[in-house]
Amino acid sequence: MKNAIDTYFKPVRESYKTRVSRLGKAGIFVAFIVICVILSLVTPRFLTVPNLMIIVTQVSINALLAFGVTFVIITGGIDLSLGSMVAVTGVVAALFARQDTYPVIVPVLAGLLSGVLFGAFNGFVITRSKVPPFIVTLGTMTIGRGLALILSKGRPISNLSDSFNFIGGGQVLGVPMPIIILISMFAVCSVILKKTVLGRYMYAVGGNEQATRASGIQISNIKMAVYTMSGLLAALAGIVLTSRITTGQPNAGAGFELDAIAAAIIGGTSTSGGTGTMTGTLIGALLIGVISNGLDLLNVSSYYQQVVMGVIIIGAVVLDSVNRK
């Protein structure tokens, strides 16, 4: 019996493509380690526990957004409304989080609910109208910004309750809350992507939508799910941000979508859909955070930081396209 199995599974010689592809996946991880090593050699302040904590805390908001957009990009879509969702959900949460009003659960649920609704609206328009996600979320990006300004009357909402401010500023056993939220969401998102039917269908839709449809899978349900999850995670990011800066800012999150998409792409999620992992995205987000922290430590002008980041994004995409050949 064993022999029969062996003949079927006699390893086919690993092709050149497979090897390059392996390299690509490992590449980002290697790059991350190399940059960390360089930074710790250049500045002794880099590799310290408090500094690493700060990096992860700072990264948490972008990482949460990046997790959401990873789902979306895997299905072959895109979500440009992330930054606006951060603002809307942050403002909604802040409206309910003013001191001496509601218990902390109310602003949290209100914020999350607004994110779910916003994301579901994206999904609904995309699946019903057949308008490309790029266009739809470009539109909702503006709508969201407007909503945030309307809800806040254009002014920051401050004087939030201490229990609400704990979400972004508190610590549990010495670990900042944003890190705890980040790690738990990373675990949840990884499981969804790797271990669930929904995750498998996401890869299938992004890899070949027609073949997935012909396998009896309702494509629109999957798309609704990913945009809604993106909204939910954006809401979580919005709540953490609002709590961290202790104000609901209608202008918050402008341009966040680009950092989140960059994290996903650096982490190996292909913009043409069908591939990507949460681990990759997390490393992508950490890489962005480490570079920005390291260059700040070295007092390098942010002008150069932007150039460095651009080079890394293009490098990641080039690596990905080499992969695909």
Partner: protein, 315 residues
């Protein structure tokens, strides 16, 4: 110092001269209602919104129709908006310029069309009929002087820039550096942009704390949003009591923080006065009366001792 005195003199004369202006009936010669068009830098900016609110209030009192449009930080858009005001034949235009150079054509066009144009809050390179605002360089001088005095002229300072290249950032940096030059004991150990943003400022401050730890004696932030971010990061790190933070704008959050003692000082830029003076100038010019070419509204340093007088009653 000379300019401050000058400013005070001008303002004082204006204040007395215009004190009964608001009750005056603001009808043009033909007896029809005056129309003033206003294009504002960005209605997403709290300070600008405050200026505009006061303009609206003042316009209503004076019986003037005020049309406000939002240039959304685009100078091109602003020029187009002024063009359409000219086409509508408004009686006067108030512009809150987006950029020094790029918004200048709007001024030239209005002047060519013989419509008075008043710049409020910031300048353009082409001189308008009148300017109402404050000198950003002065605000930074005030803030940095406060730091210098607090530190006894000796210590390490870090500075958070606004969006690099914008007029306010350039002027506030200029003012800060003027004062730093006067105090050789003050050392600027790091400076970096946080793009006017609270969250970005917080991250930047966290990184600086890692980098310089207790070496930092004071933070100067180009606006209160960033100042608040720095305060948050310092408080979280348990360092706030050891570091002085000063910023500019006196937004409500910052005033509260000054009251609580977390923010050491902010600089009050008088939005109400800028708004009301702009409308007054517009009305006068529309009626063919003359006004001062430049009305400088003085800044005021807000510290714990005088913060109460700046706090607005909650809406």
């Amino acid at each position: 110092m000379k300019s401050t005195v000058l400013t005070l003199v001008i303002t004082a004369s204006l204040l007395t001269g215009c004190s009964n202006q608001s009750t005056e009936n603001s009808q043009g010669d033909g007896g029809k209602k005056l129309v003033v068009g206003a294009t504002m830098l960005s209605m997403q900016n709290e300070f600008i919104v405050n200026v505009n609110d006061e303009m609206a209030r003042k316009a209503e009192q004076a019986g003037v129709d005020l049309i406000t449009v939002d240039a959304e930080r685009s100078a091109l858009k602003q020029v187009e908006q002024v063009e359409s005001f000219i086409a509508q034949k408004v009686d006067a235009i108030i512009m809150n310029p987006c950029e020094v150079e790029a918004s200048s054509p709007a001024v030239a066009k209005a002047l060519a069309a013989k419509i008075p144009i008043i710049n409020v809050n910031s300048e353009t390179s082409t001189k308008p009929s009148a300017f109402v605002g404050s000198d950003d360089v002065e605000s930074a001088r005030m803030a940095m002087t406060f730091i210098a005095e607090k530190l006894g002229g000796k210590g390490n300072v870090v500075m958070m820039h606004g969006y690099m290249g914008q007029a306010a950032q350039i002027k506030r940096e200029q003012g800060a550096r003027e004062i730093l030059k006067q105090y050789p004991g003050l050392k600027l150990i790091a400076h970096q942009t946080a793009e006017w943003d609270r969250a970005k400022a917080m991250s930047l401050m966290e990184n600086w704390i890692q980098s310089y730890g207790t070496e930092i004696n004071a933070v100067f932030a180009h606006n209160d949003e960033m100042g608040m971010g720095a305060v948050k990061a310092l408080t979280d790190a348990g360092l706030k009591t050891k570091v002085i933070v000063v910023s500019i704008d006196a937004i409500p959050d910052a005033l509260q923080a000054v009251q609580k003692g977390t923010l050491d000082a902010t600089v009050f830029q008088n939005a109400e006065q800028q708004g009301s003076k702009a409308i007054e100038a517009a009305v006068k010019l529309a009626k063919g009366q003359s006004v001062e070419k430049e009305t400088l509204i003085p800044f005021q340093l807000v510290t714990k001792t005088n913060v109460a007088q700046f706090m607005k009653k909650p809406d």
